[in-house]
Symmetry: C2
Subunit: 331 residues, 2 copies
């Protein structure tokens, strides 16, 4: 196996977040389930946007956030995802490249616009997401660059990719390429509703292809159809090499065939917006993993990055994570 | 004179801000003058954007920020400005309407894209702006809705409108309509370089058409070609009914024919980004003025709104200014 020239290549739905504050009454009136992601079509995206308050636009996308966080830690990242050649597509591409992430997936030149996620943030810092997939549905196996995947120590896939129909094939091809080059495959379950929509596919994919799995408490319980976190943690043991289970303020638990490592959440002065918490946890963990750290250190790096992202609006770091991690003595 | 159904109609360059953090070395390397606004063409906008770090997008535009702030205080505002029918144009329109501002100027359907302002924020909280005027150059006298202008107690014009060639005519027409309906005309000088580019026109316009003038220390000194603030304050007295001169941390001074009212700056825990400080000062002042407050109260409202906007990134309020003003006992 050749030395990897990249730490992580992320593959995901390339989208721009539109973040606005709202209240519980609005979520209720719109039939939205707090803390989850709902898929919406173009018409609903227009109508919901018209009802939302004024917002800010920031590049988002779960795996893209993770790779941006990895780059902010000083890691070497690349990203594969589909935007259109429109204004928001240019914003998305710029924001990855500006932080040193390689992003070469050709933008589509026709068809739906660049994807948007309407993110509604309530005063309890919870985020409720509504995703119009737009150009993401154009991502297909032909977009997976074999040399790029083979050059990365870890290929990181977001579960949201189970939604656009062609992406699943892209997904499987990426896993083949990665394992063919003796690299690791990592997956995040992304969202409990997403797990419900595709549970059998997720179970199969985790069992057969995933080395490093990320999931939060609700997602892992959904995957194994249990309400008991400990039961879910037992169920996942051995399904993949490393299962990383995040539990918000209760910290995280790393489960391997032999070991269980629990790490507390990093302290946060004020939780402002939880958008991107899981994404940035993965940034820190994967940075640690690709830099030879033990699981405890990986989890602490994950917690630190998650703590930064929830201290402000938006899912991209405001301050260089490398400096924060150095200050905390973690890198 | 009929009762006004609107407090303020703002007319300005309709643009979306792209805010990114940077350092002095970058400003120096790019030949940018900290704290000012430079006009850039499309090619320069592309090349500068490519060099900037990852950013966030927020609706901006000086007069639009002022009207958004007025609406956030509970005032009745409208806005006239030109976007294109593209993604950023839709964002701009949404963010005004979402806060209750009337915005009906038809978007252009061909020609340049919606304007952008590349805002570089340094660690001293200063903002350095680079504006690509885009669709703003299409704003002309035909876009000035006479009934709308006649229905507003104040027509508020930004000095930046002296830059796009047709806007000057729009500007003069708006002033005519306002005075024809016995309304007030207000102007902000916007930027010292803008004053330098158009000093004679500004002097003439202030003398003949402006009732309420806003300027910061550097702008008013530039207008009267002096380095001495007190000399500039003496020079402006009597040129218009009310001259409102802002001096950053030194507070503000309101100059009328008979009076001079000085008000301190409102306290700010941490100054994060000064983008929009002058715009939001004008929101507060004009809200007070159109609600029958005395000049001291108007200036205190201005200071309070400016203090909110400089406590975070971006030039649109994060929390409802009405609540802040009520808490401070100002409304």
């Amino acid at each position: 196996m050749a030395a990897s020239s990249l730490d992580v290549v992320g593959i995901g739905n390339a989208l721009v977040d539109v973040l606005a504050r709202t209240d519980d009454a609005f979520l209720h009136a719109q039939g939205l389930v707090k803390g989850t992601m709902a898929l919406i079509d173009s018409a609903r995206a227009e109508s919901l946007y018209a009802l939302m308050g004024s917002g800010i636009e920031m590049s988002g996308g779960s795996a893209a956030n993770t790779i941006a966080g990895l780059a902010s830690l000083g890691g070497r990242g690349a990203y594969i995802g589909k935007v259109r050649n429109d204004q928001l597509g240019a914003v998305f591409a710029h924001d990855l490249r500006a932080i040193g992430v390689r992003f070469d997936t050709p933008a589509s030149t026709e068809g739906p616009a660049t994807a948007r996620c309407l993110v509604l943030v309530t005063s309890d810092a919870q985020r409720t997401m509504n995703t119009y997939l737009g150009a993401c549905v154009e991502l297909g196996p032909g977009d997976i660059d074999q040399r790029l995947v083979a050059s990365a120590a870890v290929t990181y896939l977001e579960g949201y990719l189970f939604d656009p129909p062609q992406a699943m094939a892209a997904f499987r091809r990426a896993a083949e390429f990665a394992h063919g080059a003796e690299r690791k495959v990592s997956l995040t379950l992304s969202d409990p509703f997403c797990v419900e929509r595709h549970r059998a596919d997720f179970r199969d994919f985790v069992h057969n292809h995933v080395d490093v799995l990320f999931a939060n408490e609700i997602e892992i319980c959904s995957l194994f159809e249990t309400k008991d976190f400990d039961a879910a943690a037992r169920a996942v043991r051995g399904e993949c090499e490393i299962a990383v289970l995040t539990r918000s303020a209760k910290g995280s638990v790393v489960v391997t065939r032999q070991d269980t490592v629990a790490v507390p959440a990093a302290p946060v002065a004020e939780v402002v917006d939880t958008t991107g918490a899981g994404d940035l946890y993965a940034s820190g963990f994967l940075y640690g993993l690709t830099h030879g750290r033990d699981l405890d250190a990986c989890a602490r790096l994950g917690s630190l990055c998650a703590a930064e992202i929830i201290s402000h609006i938006g899912a991209r770091p405001e301050s260089p994570l490398k400096d924060l991690a150095a200050k905390a003595g973690l890198i």
